[in-house]
Each structure stands twice: as structure tokens, then as C-alpha cells.
């Protein structure tokens, strides 16, 4: 199952500050939905454990989060992948772009997610919604943490 999602937020914060937050491990840990631990391995690589809960399904994913294609303070790609044991695996990535906007910064993202193994075979009707929800959650958590109140104003597209 492979899916693509896009969205954008306008944050009343300067571009550099948004960029710094995007690179802050503690910030990432707080924003990644279900993230139980995020351990820094290098400036751009982290070991992560996340607990994914979708209705009756509950699976713990152990894996990595990587930051790629860094172009400060304009864009990067955040990529995560994890193995969920018998449940299968999940991968997700989002290309994040920052641009100056009136009164702050426009954050736009293009995210994609892919699941494999049992989750893909059995969770067909749950995956699209879940992936979208996770992407939304990450960015709205991020916006909310950076500027309370701005997390609800995001625009999401398919």
C-alpha cells in the first residue's frame, strides 16, 4: 500500500526558528505520533520506537528516522521506517518546504507512506485513513508546539 498526502500550515514564527525546530530531536519525538523513544545516532539519524494504534490494531515499530536532502533553512526530507514484527513494516517520508509568508512562515509538505506484510494484506480499508491521520498529526503537533493555535489551521489535500 503506497499513499501520498500533502498539506500546508502558516506559522507565526520566523523561518529560521521553524527550521531549528524541524531539526530538534526532542521536538520530533513530541510530534511523531505514538513515538516512545527517539535516540540520536548522528545529526541526521535517530533510532526510534513508535506505537501505532489503529482501532483494535496495536503494533510497536522499531526503526530509524533520518533527515535527508538538507537545504537550511528551506527544505529537507524526513524519513522514517520501522519493522513491526509479524505485523509487517511501515515506511513514511515527508518533503518539507519552508517559505516566508506574511506574518511568518509557510510550511508545506508532501508526504508518502508505505506499509508492507500483514498490515498491507489485511488492513486495506484502514491504511489510507491512518497514514493521512499520522501525517496530519505530525504536522499539526509540530505547528501547535511551535505556535499554539496554529495547528488547527492546516490545509490538507489528498
Amino acid at each position: 500500500m503506497a499513499l501520498e498526502m500533502t498539506g500546508e500550515y502558516v506559522l507565526p514564527v520566523a523561518r529560521q526558528a521553524v527550521w531549528d525546530a524541524l531539526n530538534d530531536p526532542e521536538m520530533l519525538r513530541r510530534c511523531i505520533p505514538g513515538c516512545e523513544s527517539l535516540e540520536k545516532k548522528s545529526d541526521t539519524e535517530f533510532a526510534a520506537v513508535t506505537l501505532a494504534k489503529v482501532g483494535p490494531v496495536k503494533a510497536r515499530f522499531k526503526g530509524k528516522v533520518r533527515l535527508e536532502d538538507l537545504d537550511p533553512p528551506s527544505s529537507y526530507k524526513i524519513v522514517g521506517e520501522g519493522e513491526g514484527g509479524i505485523a509487517g513494516f511501515a515506511k513514511g517520508g515527508a518533503s518539507v518546504t519552508l517559505a516566508d509568508a506574511e506574518g511568518g512562515t509557510r510550511l508545506s509538505y508532501r508526504a508518502e507512506a508505505q506499509v508492507g506484510g500483514k498490515l498491507a494484506q489485511l488492513g486495506q480499508r484502514l491504511i489510507a485513513g491512518t497514514a493521512r491521520k499520522m501525517a496530519d498529526q505530525f504536522f499539526s503537533n509540530f505547528a501547535e508546539a511551535l505556535a499554539p493555535g496554529s495547528g488547527k489551521g492546516g490545509k490538507k489535500k489528498g
Partner: protein
């Protein structure tokens, strides 16, 4: 749905059993035409890994079938019989697709012709009709 099948199995030993074979084959053929399809995504993940997504024909998907025979003896075996196990599954899918394309008035209908596929085909017929007017 009205279904008629005429088969030539040569000499039939037990018609009850042979008709049962035909029924089962037709059901699998209708399944292929309307319901069943294994789907892999672009990464090679099977996304139809259970009966939640792979649609098996159920009793309420199917009609009863009219089954009858013509008989020509098979000259190449001592009993004059022909095989019957796969018959229903062979002729059925294409009969269904021919019927749907006949109904919608154009040939662009994929298998399986799921509700969504038929809906799309009906939309297309409407467009074609409009263009023709």
C-alpha cells in the same frame, strides 16, 4: 440475472454430479468477471490478503442456473465421454463481460467489473451519448 448454459459432455455417467460441476465452474467464472481480483501495489505488496478485500462469490451474488446438454459422443475414448470439470469456468467470464458491455453500449469494461467499474462505464456511456447528440 438469467443464466443458461448448454454443454456437450458426450455421454454423461451421472448427470447430478456433472451439473454440480457446471454450477461450481460458472460461479467461479462469474466471480472472475464481477468480484475477484488479486491486487498488488506498485511495491509488490499484496493488498488483497483476506476475504475482507478479496471478494469471494457468495450465495447472494449468484442466481440459479439453467443447465442443459447437447450430446455428441467423443470418438477417442471407449465411453464417448468428454471432460466437464472446468467447463463452467471457461465460458462464464466472457459471457458476463459481453452482457455488461452490451448493456452499457461500449466495450470499455474491465474485469472484475466491480460496482465502481460498472459505475464508471455507465458514466462513460452517458458521455458518449452526449457527444453523439
Amino acid at each position: 440475472m438469467k443464466w443458461t448454459a448448454i454443454d456437450d459432455f458426450g455421454i454423461v455417467i451421472n448427470p447430478m454430479i456433472v451439473e454440480g460441476q457446471v454450477h461450481g465452474g460458472i460461479a467461479q467464472g462469474v466471480g472472475q468477471a464481477l468480484l475477484e481480483g488479486a491486487v498488488y501495489d506498485k511495491h509488490g505488496q499484496l493488498v488483497t490478503g483476506s476475504y475482507m478485500d478479496y471478494c469471494m462469490p457468495r450465495a447472494d451474488n449468484l442466481p440459479s442456473f439453467n443447465v442443459d446438454y447437447v450430446v455428441t459422443k467423443c470418438p477417442s475414448n471407449p465411453l464417448g465421454i468428454k471432460g466437464c470439470g472446468e467447463a463452467g469456468a471457461i465460458a462464464a467470464p466472457v459471457a458476463v463481460v459481453n452482457a455488461i458491455t452490451n448493456a452499457v453500449g461500449h466495450e470499455d469494461v474491465p474485469m472484475p467489473a466491480t460496482p465502481q467499474a460498472v459505475w464508471a462505464a455507465v458514466q462513460k456511456s452517458a458521455k458518449l451519448r452526449k457527444a453523439a447528440e
